[in-house]
Each structure stands twice: as C-alpha cells, then as structure tokens.
Amino acid sequence: MDATALLLSRLQFAFTISFHIIFPAFSIGLAAWLAVLEAKHLRTGNAVYRTLFQFWLKIFGVAFGLGVVSGVVMAFQFGTNWSVLSNMSGPIQGPLLSYETFTAFALEAGFFGVLILGRNRVAPWFYFFSTAMVALGTTLSAFWIMVNNSWMQVPVGYVVQNGQFVPDDWTKIIFNSVVWSRFPHMLLASYLTGAFCVASSGAWYLLRDKSRVEALVMLRMGLLLAAVLMPLQLAFGHLVGDYVHDFQPAKFAAIEGRWHDEQPASEVVIALPDPAHETNTYEIKIPVLGSIIGSMSLTSKEVGLTDFPPQDRPPVLIPFATFRIMVGCGLIMLALAWLGSYLSVTHRLERSRLLLWSIFLSFPLPFIAIFTGWYTAEVGRQPWVIYGALRTDQAMTPFLTAGAALSSLILFGAIYLFIFSFGTLFIYRLLRAGPSRNAIELPYDATPNRPMSLAGGDVAAVPHLMTAGE
C-alpha cells in the first residue's frame, strides 16, 4: 500500500464527490420546483407559471447534465480506487446503490427526455406526470444515497463473513433513526438550495428592473418556502447531531472542540483548536450549554477527544470549522427568509433594496452549507471509512500506484474545472437573460405529425425567440 496513492485517492474522491453534490443538490430542488410550476399552470392556466417553467427548465437541463456525468464517475470510483472497500461492503453498499440506480436513475433518465424535448409529443397530463417522475426520481436517489452513507456512518444489520460485510437485517439498515434524520436533512437542504436560487434570481431581476411579474413570483414562492423549511431544517439538524452524539462520540467531540471530559460541559462557540497541545486557543465558550445541546441536560458528562487513542481520533480543525460555517449559513438563511417573507407578504419587499441585495447575494449560502455539512460528516468519520469497522487506509486498492492515482486526479481535476467553468458560465448567461414571455402558450395540438402547424402562427416571433436565450 502506497501512502501517496492513498492521499491522492482520498483527494480524488473528495474532489469528485464535492463537484458532484453541487448538481444533485441543485437539481433535486429545481425538479420539485418545476413540478410545482407545471401543476400550478395546469390548474390556474396562468401564463406566468409557464414562462417560469420554460425558463427554469433550461437551467435544470444544464445542471442535471452535469449531475449525471459526474455521477457516472462515482459509480466506478469505488471499484477503481477502493477495491478493498468495494469488495468488503459490496454485499451491502452494492444493493443500496442498485436500488438507487433501479428506482431513481432509470426514472429520471426515462422521463428527462420527455421533459426537455417532448412537450409537443405528449398530452399535457403526461408531461406533468413526466415532470413529477423526474422530481420523484431525484428524491429517491437522495434517499438511497443517504441510506448508503448512513450505513457507512453507523453500520448496522450485518455480520462479517469471509472478509465481507454480509447483511442480515435489511430493515435495520434502511429503517433506522440515523437514515430518517439524515435523509430529511439532505432533502430539506436541496429544497432550500432550490428555494434560495429561485428567490435570489428574482431579487436580481427586481434590482435590474427586469421581468417584474416573474421576479415577484420567484421571490414570493422561494422566500415563503424557505421560511417554512428553514426551522424544520434546524430541527432535523439537531436530530442529526443527536445521532452523532450517540454513535460517533469522537466526531461529536471534534465538532464541539472538546478535548477533555466535562461535567456539565460548556459549548465552545469559537476557537482555534490546537491538536498538538490538545487544547483550544482564542476560545469563547458558554458554560453548561454543551450538556444541553449534547444530552438535553444541565448536568450530563460529555466526553472529550482525549478519551480516544490518537489513532482513532478524527482531524479536529475541519469538522470544528465546517460545522460552524454550516450553522452560520443556516442562521443567515433563516433571517433572510423570515424577513423577506414578512416584507413580501406586506408588499414592501420591492422597495427594500438592501434586503433585495442581500437575498440576491445569498445564493452561495445553501451550497456552502451543503459542502460544509458533508465535510463535517465525512471528515469527522475518519479514520474510518466504515465507522468502527474498516479504516480508510485499509480500504484502498492495494496495488494502486501513486502515478496512476496522480494521473487520474489531474485528468478529473482538469476536466471538471473545464466543464464547471463553462457550466457556470452558461447557467449565468441563462439567468442573466431571464425568463422570456414569448416562449409560452404554444398550442397543445402542435403535434409532430403537423410540423407546419406553428408556421402559420406568429412567424415573426420566431427569430426573436431564437435570440432570447443567448
């Protein structure tokens, strides 16, 4: 086993998965938003929903494409770089990811084509059905991924046989409190990402005096949804913290920046952890709050990192910092969502330029929160890949060379940076252009069998349409 290859493989996994998560997080939320828009349009016939649908569909298309291609890489990377892991945990992780592929990817892929290209080839109800199926697919995908990752965090329902983790209780693997606090946490995070991106675009258009009607709908729907979901998200976040407290005490201690046992424990708000001296510098802490957060008690004893032998401790700085960044983003989002919703409902939002600017600039927050949340979870799990059962440094392909790992890392790095810069550029251009009202209200009877049925209509509108998306 090659230590450099190990480091490079970890970097590669971290890089490719970080790149990947941006797009599913975005498209899970957007798919749900599209389904809502299509439903509203079908029910009310209000053209604004259709305009918004066509507009966000373009952005969804780009984001979804990036998610698909970066996801294919993930399906192979377990085998290429982590062959010991994939052999040992294949009997459990394999079936879970199979369920993801079977139930989610096939659904998404099957109906994505209809969504993007098939509006005129299918009946309106079937088109709505396709939108809903794509949304369902993205949600199911998140579910199975969370089951899979939760098993890596807290492995249950298995026995070890012939060097493999053999499942003996699937209900325990799928229906446990860890999954059912983490899956909603991730799903809400995706919906919040969608909501904030939509609201932020709305704010941008208002600031630029553009597409006022659509912008107001985006702002109102995005902010209200975020205002409702954000407190829920904090509640589920607390439940996720509970599982970490109960099942991964070393990770919990790292997140809390708690080096020694304390009773009652205080809560470190901010500090600079110093692993060399097993202490914190520049520490600000609140007495007793640590016990309240950890155990809902005023007197409980909370464990510190020094209870664990050094080789079983996670890195401290990353989980400690990322967790605080995540919570900080969440609190800012909560404030923006509540304040914005209040002003939106009382029709004063349009005049509050400062808040519009804040909402516009808030679009990176949900992404940062998702990144930092995952870093807390994954780095905090170290040095284990399957918590308590398989160490990361024993999970790698034994004969992988540093040269091979470096080449693939550079290749993926270059390609991902390349497509990411163009992808964001294209999404930015689509967003800047804004919704185009001309793209709406195509007659439903314009079937492929009558390809000329539209040519008799507003021919003059066509060239205009063509430039609308540029």
Binding site: F78, N87, S89, F102, A106, F111, G403, F412, A446, A455
Partner: protein, 348 residues
C-alpha cells in the same frame, strides 16, 4: 438466484452495448462531418436517448458491484487506466449535448463530443480485449500493473469496437433521418461493415496464432457456432437491405450481429466472470444481498426500467432529423434544443 443476476447483468450490458453503442457511434460520425446543419440533426436523433442509454452502464456497474462484489472490485481496479479514460470521455461528451447549445464557441464542444465518444468507445473495446486475452493474476489478486491491460490484441479490439459502434450509429442515422444525412450514412455502412469483418478476421487469426485460452472454448463448445451463423445471416441481410434502400432493417441486422458477438463472448467466458481467474459462483454476493435485490429491484423495478426505456423510444419514435421539422423546432425553443439554435445555421 445467482443465475437471475447473471442474466440481469448480461442483459444490462447487452442493452448498454447496443443503445449507447449507437449514440457513441453517432458521436464518432459527428466528428467526421463538417456541416453544422448535419451535426445538429445528428445530435437531434440521439438527444432524447443518450441519458437513458448511459444509465444502462451504471445499471451494469451497480449490478456487478452488488451481485458480484469481487468481480467489480477486481475488474475496475485492474482496468484503472481504461476505466478512468472512458469516464473522462463520457463526461466530456455528456456535457457537450447541453453545452454546445449555449456556447458561443461551439467548436470546443464539437471536439469534446467527438473525441469523448471516440475515447469511451475505444477504451470499452480495449477492456473487452484485455478480458478475452486474460489479465494476469497471482493468488486471485491482479498483478499485471497499471498497464497490464495494454496489449496489441486489446488495442485491436478497441479499434474494432469503434468501427462496430460507428456501424451501429450509421444504421441509426439511416433509421432516424432523411435527406443528405441518410444518404451519407447509407454510404458509410458498407465501409464500416467491411472494417468490422476485417477486424473479426484479424482477431480470429490473432487468437489462433497466440493460442488464446478462449479458443479452446470454441472448440469445446461447438454450439457457439450457432451465434456465428446468426451473425453471418444478419450480415447478408444487412447487405441486401442496404442495396434495397431499406431504412429499418440495417439497424436491426447490426443489432443482431452485436447480440451474436456478445452471446459468443458471454458463453465462452462461462462459468468465469473474469476469464480463468474468478468464477461466477465464487464472485457471487451472499444470498441475503441477492435476495434483497431480487424481491424488489429484480422482479419489480427491472421490468419497469425496461418499460421506461420502451416508453422513451415510443415517444420519440419515427424520423427525428427531418428537414420539415425545422419550422416546428424553431417555434419551440425547448424542443430539440434547450438553448437557442440560430435558424440561419440550420440551413432551412
């Protein structure tokens, strides 16, 4: 139970080969075309399908992982370089579908699309070739090094598969388009068909001279000749259908040729999963894993997936790349193009 998952795996791999085969093939033919009008139409014949087609690759990968974890771990780690290059190719070509509609410099994505398709096809062929020739194993663990797969035979198979996919792609274009593209594709079919035949002959000779273990299988198992016979009949019908200007038969016949080639390989590997190193039974996951998948994903969702695929192909049945379609497309920004093709470039 093991048998069921072998069949699911084989079926998914075959579907991938055929479905992504034609769109990778169109991708390579795309690189050989200069006209923007042709390129747009070529893309349009595969745009609604490629994502679904590629899903079968993931299906095959996760079924391999869940039902045969050892084979998944061994195969992917041994074929590290080809897998990584194939993935890079698939990433580049995948994003090109959306990106070229949004881009001002379309040529970047045209190159990515064509080269990505080529790299992915070539590497898939190389992997099949490396497996047929046999990877080096010591005590059940791969010991061939980072480039153990790279042999002249594997490279030959890579080239061969590129021709094969291009042939499938040409037949797809004949089926789905008309006018100049159909005419060009029709002319390309005999060229690629000949190239595939030559390739098969060379592979056969190579296998004979090198005494590849797989040759013994063909001698031991004469029933494999049935597949070769089917392939030959299909090739003859293909030739006839080209002469008769039939639009639908060529794709079916090439499909048949692919199925018979796949059948020959699969049955000559039997009972090995990775030839002459890991058998199907020794690679199989524990019963509790296979059963869990069988009662949900296997008997219920898998047929549904096939159904989605059929629905997708039904919705977009018939000719897609028609000149007459242009008016309709330009009236619907979302149809055919997510972004906004400029009508002037379409040569309407």
């Amino acid at each position: 139970m093991v048998m069921f998952w072998v069949l699911v795996l084989a079926n998914s791999m075959l579907l991938y080969l055929l479905l992504d085969g034609f769109d990778l093939g169109v991708g390579m033919l795309f690189g050989l075309t200069r006209s923007e009008a042709s390129r747009s139409i070529m893309l349009r014949t595969i745009a609604p399908f490629w994502d679904g087609n590629e899903t079968w690759l993931i299906v095959a990968a996760v079924v391999l992982w869940s039902a045969f974890p050892v084979a998944y771990a061994t195969l992917l780690s041994a074929l590290y370089v080809p897998v990584v290059v194939m993935l890079a190719g698939l990433v580049l070509r995948g994003v090109s579908f959306e990106f070229r509609n949004e881009a001002q410099r379309r040529w970047i994505w045209d190159i990515c699309f064509a080269c990505g398709s080529l790299a992915a096809s070539f590497m898939q062929g190389v992997m099949v070739g490396a497996l047929v020739e046999g990877l080096q194993f010591t005590d059940g663990q791969y010991s061939g090094g980072a480039f153990g797969w790279m042999t002249s035979f594997a490279v030959l198979c890579g080239v061969g598969l590129c021709f094969g996919y291009a042939l499938l792609g040409a037949c797809w274009l004949v089926r789905k388009s008309d006018g100049k593209i159909r005419a060009d594709a029709r002319r390309a079919i005999p060229v690629f068909a000949t190239a595939v035949l030559v390739f098969l002959a060379v592979v056969f000779l190579h296998a004979l001279t090198k005494h590849l273990p797989i040759m013994h299988r063909w001698i031991d198992r004469p029933y494999l000749l049935v597949f070769q016979a089917i392939g030959c009949v299909a090739a003859l019908v293909l030739a006839r259908s080209i002469l008769r200007h039939d639009d639908r038969l060529p794709f079916r016949m090439v499909t048949l040729i692919f199925v018979s080639a796949f059948g020959t390989l699969a049955l000559s590997f039997w009972p090995y999963m990775i030839p002459f190193a890991i058998t199907i039974d020794s690679a199989a996951a524990p019963h509790s894993s296979l059963a869990f998948m069988f009662w949900g994903a296997g008997i219920f969702v898998y047929p549904l997936m096939l159904l989605y695929a059929v629905v997708g192909y039904r919705v977009f049945r018939g000719k897609m790349g028609l000149a007459a379609d242009h008016h309709q497309d330009s009236g619907n920004a979302h149809l055919g193009k997510i972004g906004s093709p400029r009508p002037a470039e379409w040569g309407v």
